[in-house]
């Protein structure tokens, strides 16, 4: 879509900037059992949930994952970190010349690099290409020229948050953090929890709704290569602590509902359960579980998420929680009623009524 043009019918308009008052953002309540939806405000969330319910958030902080670089041949390249690989190396997706004002899918292809070639990332900061994906040359594995504190200092000095063509100005790192972010594992904002302000978290606690966290290395939302996009999400690292496992058990014991805040949390919890015979246990790992209509959730009862377009990988995941026709109808309703989409957009809670 061109900037400024109205979105096509049936598409939810992208939010173009973070908003000031999360309570006023919109919340679509979708009850898959009753097959109904209701318009609400995000500030209504504490009243929708109840004593004993548990919200599980992704506490990964967002990295400044976009680095501008130059190849040894002098070509411009944008490096978007996709996640950590084994042995201190990183997965990254490369883009050609240009910047965030061009939609990811319209960006020039990057120069094709070979293992051993280096990318200069600002100052004396360098990355070496270690491997190139056989199916998509823009997916590479990198090794930086430093580790420990020096690597983090260089990443935060030279990196910027990944930017979006539908957002009206460059985003700072402050714009792309949740209110409970800890380790910088995510390369894009785990956006479902963005509107959970401290004030709302306090109201939820006063209602007897508990909050627990997992850490999940949320990956790239788009790569600009349709073949690579079809492989998203790539395997992602996660960690689930003992406290969260007991909070889930306590919610179960009280008849409360376990609500994942964001698709990354669904992936972490269901991925871990799938590795352990359907039971959730504390631990860390990498999940390649792709969730869709055929997946029967074993841990998660409901999902707080954004408004995801039919056809996207996120929309596929939602079908584990509600039938496709109901999701599509609710999405059309949201599009027709002025809901906003993407990182700073409105929310949808898919949850059977208590």
């Amino acid at each position: 879509m061109a900037r400024g043009a109205p979105p096509p019918r049936g598409v939810v308009t992208p939010a173009t900037w973070p908003r000031d008052e999360p309570r006023e953002e919109r919340l679509l309540l979708l009850d898959p059992a009753a097959r109904t939806w209701t318009d609400a405000r995000f500030g209504d969330l504490p009243g929708v949930l109840g004593h004993g319910d548990l919200l599980v958030v992704n506490d990964a902080a967002t990295l400044p994952a976009s680095l501008r670089g130059r190849t040894e041949a002098g070509q411009e390249v944008e490096v978007r970190l996709a996640g950590r690989a084994a042995g201190g190396e990183w997965w990254a997706v490369l883009f050609g010349a240009g910047d965030w004002r061009t939609r990811t899918e319209d960006r020039d292809a990057p120069p094709v690099l070979r293992p051993g070639q280096r990318i200069a990332l600002g100052g004396d900061f360098l990355a070496e290409v270690r491997a190139v994906d056989p199916a998509s040359a823009r997916l590479v594995r990198l090794r930086f020229d430093r580790g420990g504190p020096a690597l983090w200092t260089a990443l935060y000095r030279h990196g910027r948050p990944i930017q979006y063509a539908h957002v009206r100005a460059p985003l700072a790192l402050w714009h792309v953090q949740t209110g409970y972010a800890a380790r910088p594992w995510a390369v894009e904002l785990p956006s479902a929890g963005r509107a959970l302000s401290a004030g709302l978290r306090r109201d939820l606690a006063d209602r007897g709704v508990r909050l627990a966290g997992v850490t999940h290395a949320a990956g790239l939302s788009a790569t600009g290569d349709p073949a690579l996009d079809a492989r998203l999400p790539l395997p992602e690292q996660f960690e689930i602590g003992a406290r969260t496992v007991s909070a889930i058990a306590a919610a179960r014991a009280q008849g409360g509902r376990v609500v994942a805040v964001g698709t990354t949390v669904v992936r972490a919890l269901e991925g871990q359960a799938a590795r352990h015979g359907g039971r959730i246990q504390a631990g860390a790992g990498v999940t390649d579980l792709v969730i869709g209509a055929g997946h029967r959730p074993r841990v998660v009862d409901g999902l707080l998420t954004g408004l995801h377009e039919p056809g996207s990988s996120h929309f596929e995941l939602l079908q584990a929680f509600a039938p496709r026709d109901l999701l599509a109808a609710a999405h059309a309703h949201a599009a027709a009623h002025g809901y906003l989409a993407h990182e700073f957009g409105d929310s949808c809670l898919i949850l059977r009524a208590s």
Partner: protein, 248 residues
């Protein structure tokens, strides 16, 4: 709080009380990230801790710069794990010799507030939400008796520390029940570079050794469950009944 295995972020960690606190925390088994502007001093301190078998990383940065708060908290969590213990020790006096308020430039007051007050606010803002989700965490504010006594020539510093004390009380009120606790420590007069800048005529022999003060502060942290959140404790008055045992 239990210190062994926790991730501790200590600002102003290159010298004086901050360096001593980093060393004392590492001796108790903490994973320590030290922050300061001077890279060489900072790395020397971290290397000394590692030389004693402790876990320490040097993270150069300026707590007075808004753009660096995400970096400091993010890098610390990446290196040592989600921050469980945050020690706001960095502070600046402003220009020395200390001067009367009428002689204090507006920019100098702003800089002192940026480092001593706004910096701690920002770092707590970035880490305390995650502490609350984990249900535990401790934030220590290092203050001064200049926060409660109006000493001539200590205007910028005294105002920043008075506001810091109150900031800690408000944090504690707002986060009550989350498991995140706040402690304000007045270390007293110590033999540090800061003290000699402020009071060059003082006899070092009359001043406390920062290492001894750091041991007291660590003992407070170990016993912090018994101290009311937001309490302002003078290190010299801390009973020290709880003997400091080396972590086994």
């Amino acid at each position: 709080m239990n210190i062994r295995g926790t991730s501790a972020l200590v600002t102003g960690g290159s010298r004086g009380l901050g360096a001593a606190l980093g060393r004392a925390l590492a001796r108790q088994g903490a994973r320590v990230v030290l922050v300061a502007r001077e890279e060489a001093d900072l790395e020397r301190t971290a290397a000394a801790i590692r030389g004693e078998g402790g876990l320490a990383w040097a993270l150069p940065g300026d707590v007075g710069d808004k753009e660096q708060a995400q970096y400091l908290a993010g890098a610390a969590a990446a290196l040592a794990g989600p921050v469980d213990l945050l020690v706001h020790n960095a502070s600046t006096l402003g220009p020395t010799p200390l001067r009367l308020l009428l002689d204090t430039d507006c920019e100098d007051l702003e800089r002192v507030l940026a480092v001593n007050l706004v910096g701690p606010f920002r770092l707590t803002k970035v880490v305390a939400g995650a502490m609350a989700v984990r249900g535990e965490g401790l934030v220590v504010h290092v203050t001064s008796d200049a926060s409660v006594n109006a000493y001539a020539r200590w205007g910028a510093y005294g105002v920043s520390k008075a506001a810091l004390d109150h900031l800690a009380r408000i944090w504690a009120a707002e986060m009550e029940g989350t498991g995140v606790r706040f402690l304000t420590v007045d270390p007293g007069e110590m033999d540090t570079r800061m003290h000699s800048l402020a009071m060059p005529e003082a006899d070092p022999a009359s001043l406390a050794d920062p290492a001894a003060v750091a041991d007291r502060v660590v003992s407070m942290i170990l016993g912090s469950a018994e101290i009311a959140s937001a309490a302002r404790v003078e290190a010299a008055a801390w009973p020290g009944e709880r003997p400091l045992r080396a972590a086994s």
